[in-house]
């Protein structure tokens, strides 16, 4: 009788990450299928890493918050086949709402660490034009009847207002200022050519206009001003603080990342953009879901044996400005700390729900490359129904000369 060998824990690395340009919901991608966006991101990722033999990919995990129609049919498998991966490569689908792609990454990382997988593709897509937020949901009446959650928990904008309620010193003015900075930083990053290199040009057809190619994000508004922001309506409550200007929009887009065990990456000569230290997800009251990144980060730091002072780079998803501010406030970080979202964030480029987790990672990878003095960074995001997720990464370039 043979005795099985326990897998030993492997180091997990981010080899590469890319995304399609993000669009406004139902705008430049109105005539493009969600699965085609996902396929495009995957093929762009593989094209950038030609030394990877496709048959060595062990698994594919793709996220979407709404898994029906062109986001149904098990995207992990269907997008793999459509992308031309060999049919020997398996795939599955992941859903943790906004943290879908992040969860695809962490779940695959678990498999890689476990040794059951050496190379994998993680991805996320959301076509909010084809799948408006909340479309087709059927919340159990018990949620409200038994007061499991309050009504506000089911509308993301309302949860952001609730955060303002909880932290009155985090004012609308501070949120607007943060939003403006996001737009400005994004505009600067575009001007410096820092965003474009990870965008995969994506064909998008419009029946009225013909074929076009998306090469840049559609949502950014570089001409935003504080005055302009101050006049916007607060759609979630009268005299509220959350506006379309200090929130992320409704968007279409896809992201994809290549993960590997460090040993396999080295063996195949694949680049290493970030090394995963650990990750954690945590829950909070669903009414203040935006607070989720605080407990998930505390939990992840504890696992890693690090403190917030050890983190030199932050990519915090900007679902709402208030949610980032609450996070920074908790950890005593300034609203305009240059370590936070240096290329702007979702308020400017958009937040196609389940895809955003990987966008944070590709931004962090860019910071790592630019700042070899930074050793650790985190990507973190809030998640509907009261959760947060945090991944801590180590800079593989740390200590190298800039």
């Amino acid at each position: 009788m043979k005795v099985g060998t326990m897998a030993t824990q492997a180091s997990v690395v981010l080899v590469d990450a890319v995304r399609t340009p993000f669009g406004k919901a139902g705008s430049m991608y109105a005539g493009t299928r969600a699965d085609d966006l996902m396929v495009r991101a995957m093929r762009g990722l593989l094209e950038r890493n030609p030394q990877l033999p496709l048959d060595q990919i062990d698994d594919v995990a793709i996220a979407a918050a709404t898994q029906t129609g062109d986001q149904g049919m098990n995207l992990g498998r269907s997008a793999s086949l459509l992308a031309g991966l060999p049919n020997t490569v398996p795939g599955y689908s992941v859903d943790r709402w906004c943290a879908g792609a992040m969860t695809a990454v962490t779940t695959l990382a678990g498999s890689i660490a476990m040794g059951s997988c050496e190379i994998a593709i993680a991805g996320g897509v959301e076509h909010m034009g084809n799948h408006p937020i909340g479309d087709g949901l059927d919340p159990n009446p018990r949620f409200l009847a038994e007061r499991i959650v309050e009504q506000d928990a089911l509308a993301m904008g309302a949860t952001a207002e609730r955060l303002h309620d909880r932290f009155p010193h985090l004012t609308k003015e501070r949120a607007d200022k943060f939003a403006l900075a996001s737009q400005m930083k994004t505009a600067q990053a575009y001007a410096d050519g820092k965003i474009q290199r990870d965008l995969i040009p994506t064909a998008a057809r419009s029946a009225e206009l013909g074929w076009g190619i998306a090469t840049v994000d559609e949502p950014p508004r570089p001409t935003t001003t504080l005055e302009g922001l101050s006049t916007l309506k607060t759609p979630f409550r009268p005299a509220g603080r959350v506006t379309a200007g200090n929130s992320s929009g409704l968007n279409d887009g896809a992201t994809a990342a290549l993960l590997a065990s460090e040993a396999k990456a080295l063996e195949l000569g694949l680049p290493i953009k970030a090394r995963m230290v650990t990750f954690a997800f945590a829950g909070v009251e669903p009414e203040v879901m935006g607070y989720g990144p605080v407990p998930s980060t505390i939990k992840a730091l504890a696992k890693a044996g690090l403190s917030i002072a050890d983190i030199g780079a932050f990519e915090v998803n900007e679902a709402f400005a208030i949610q980032v501010l609450a996070f920074l406030d908790h950890f005593g970080i300034a609203d305009d700390d240059p370590r936070v979202n240096p290329y702007g964030g979702a308020i400017a480029v958009g937040h196609p729900l389940a895809s955003s987790g990987i966008r944070l990672m590709l931004n962090l990878a860019r910071t790592f490359e630019e700042k070899p003095d930074v050793r650790y960074g985190i990507t973190t995001m809030c998640i509907g129904l009261g959760m947060g997720g945090t991944v801590i990464w180590e800079n593989p370039h740390f200590g190298k000369k800039a």
Partner: protein, 703 residues
Amino acid sequence: MTSIVLPEGAPEEVVTNALVRDVDLSAFGATGTLALITLDNGHDHTRPNTFGPQSLMALDTAITEAISRKPAAIAITGKPFIFAAGADLSALSFLSDRSQAVAIGKLGHDVFRRLDECGIPTFAFINGLALGGGLEVGLHCKYRTLSATAFTGLPEVFLGLVPGWGGATILPQLIGPEKAVQVIIANALNNNTMMKAKDALALGVVDSVFAPADFLEKSIAFAASVLNGSQKIERVDYTNDPSWDAALATGRAIALKKFGGAEIASPMKALELMAASRTSTRGAGFDAEDQTLADLTMSDPLRASLYAFNLIQKKRKKVEGAPKAALARKVGKVGVVGAGLMASQLALLLVRNLKCPVVMTDIDQERADKGVAWVKNELAKLVEKKRMSAESASRLALLVSGSADQNVFAGCDFVIEAIFEELSLKQELFKKLEKIVSPECVLATNTSSLSVEKMGEGLEHPERVVGFHFFNPVAIMPLLEIARTSKTDDATTATAVNIGKELKKTMIICKDAPGFVVNRLLTRFMGEITDAVDEGTSPEVADNAMRSIGFPMSPFELLGLVGPGVGLHVAKTLHENLGPRYRISPTMEAMVKEGIKTFYIKSEDGSVVANPAALALIHKGDSPSTAEQVRLRALKALAEEARMMLDEGVVSTPAEIDLCMLMGAGWPMHLGGILPFLDREGISDSVCGSRFHPAGVASLPSK
């Protein structure tokens, strides 16, 4: 550009719009923008983009718009799955004035050539089907990419036209005369073969092939690489290539062979244009194309071709006189009586398409087994040729079985007999089968000339008897004649039509009459030739009397294919049933008696010569005819017989007769099957007192 008003009666043009958008090339490593023109008629892929006058004007406007944006490059692509399927042919049949035809040709050139002459690098991103004028737009561009799953080709010569929007002039210079002859002549005349992407790449028709998943992105990256100089596409100057004469001669030989030695205008004119392209300027080539296109467009053969093409397309989908499809009964098991070659071919065809149990019987188990083994061996051959997966073959092989006991037909929904052509045998068989199968089971016969009606006589359920007549080889010949007796009911006919559809056959439904349609006409036609020989005409004169018409083979070549035995048998049956105009040739009888199978044989040096053994058997009369006399009597016989068939109600429309001759006899499209040719030769008028088709339907409109 001046717009063209379509002639009266022409259907309204489905306009292909040309939409222009800018693509930023900086994301692809080049500078500036690419003006991307999308061709899109607003319909899905089932209604491909085409170019009529308004579509050409729309493209012209788009090119102007693109140029005005001062782009680094201009590219043109299609809608999903379709680039462009070529000229909008629907108006051609209505042109009554040659100048209109010249104008349409010229408009196409004037618009397309701007892509070559605008001074900006131009690209065709052929994302899907590109045929004829669709491919020609691309040929005017400086560079071409093609989607890996797209098909492309120049089918003009197949249709009786020439690639006259630049194809005949540009292609030989682009890929050389040999390959151009392959595309323009050989492919077109080989049942309109389209090029797969890899073929188009190998021939040099396109510069690069990309997977469809990101075809457009890759194509733009290709354009960028050409623009920034990282990729160079070399072109060869074929002007002084030594292969010109041989290539053109090959093209000519292919065209002659296709039409039984006749010089048919479209391939000959295409070859002339290609030959001229060697030395003339493009402009002169285009002018010549305009004239040739106009000549062809204003000719009866082209009108007949268009009629035939539309007829084939239409009747492939809708069978004239078919009962409601809903009446068709489900077919879950079929039987084939007989296990000889014909029966085995039927069993193979049935099992491949119906994918249900097929049982074969013969007089002993050994013969039945032999038939089953033949089918299984054919399936294995398909696997070997990679035309079928091993799994499909094993699935189908398990569905075929053979027995000497006809009780295996129990439970069949459809049984077809292919036993010896002897009425009494078939009558006896059907009576026996009726005791085994259900009252609804269709009893079909593949007889070529016996009375289906008589086969059903004395049956309890004659309403389920139907003629189901294939042409040899059954897997390839597209026609199926379904013959109804006076008793055949609609459910039976509907079931037969449904099976025919599953078998992917083009069908006509005819009255049960001797020889149905194709054999009746062919036998009458052949009879006139053999009669002429029997009367003393030299076989050479008689057999070559119709060469110039363009039939695929001469009467005696056809006889060799069918076999004198079968030919004589059919002639005898028709003689008995239709009267003495079907004569029984003593020469044929002698050939069958002596076992001479062919009139022509291959001599030792490979050339085809008359078989001396056959020549020796000729019954020589003393009233020889001239070639012209033979030609006329044969054509008159066709007209007379066709008229009789229509009067008898064998089929209800002349179009069905044409369809039969196109699909069952392989008669060429430029004859429109046959009746348009008889009309334009004045034969119909002289024999029947009137045309079969009104002027303008399959011919030029009357002046």
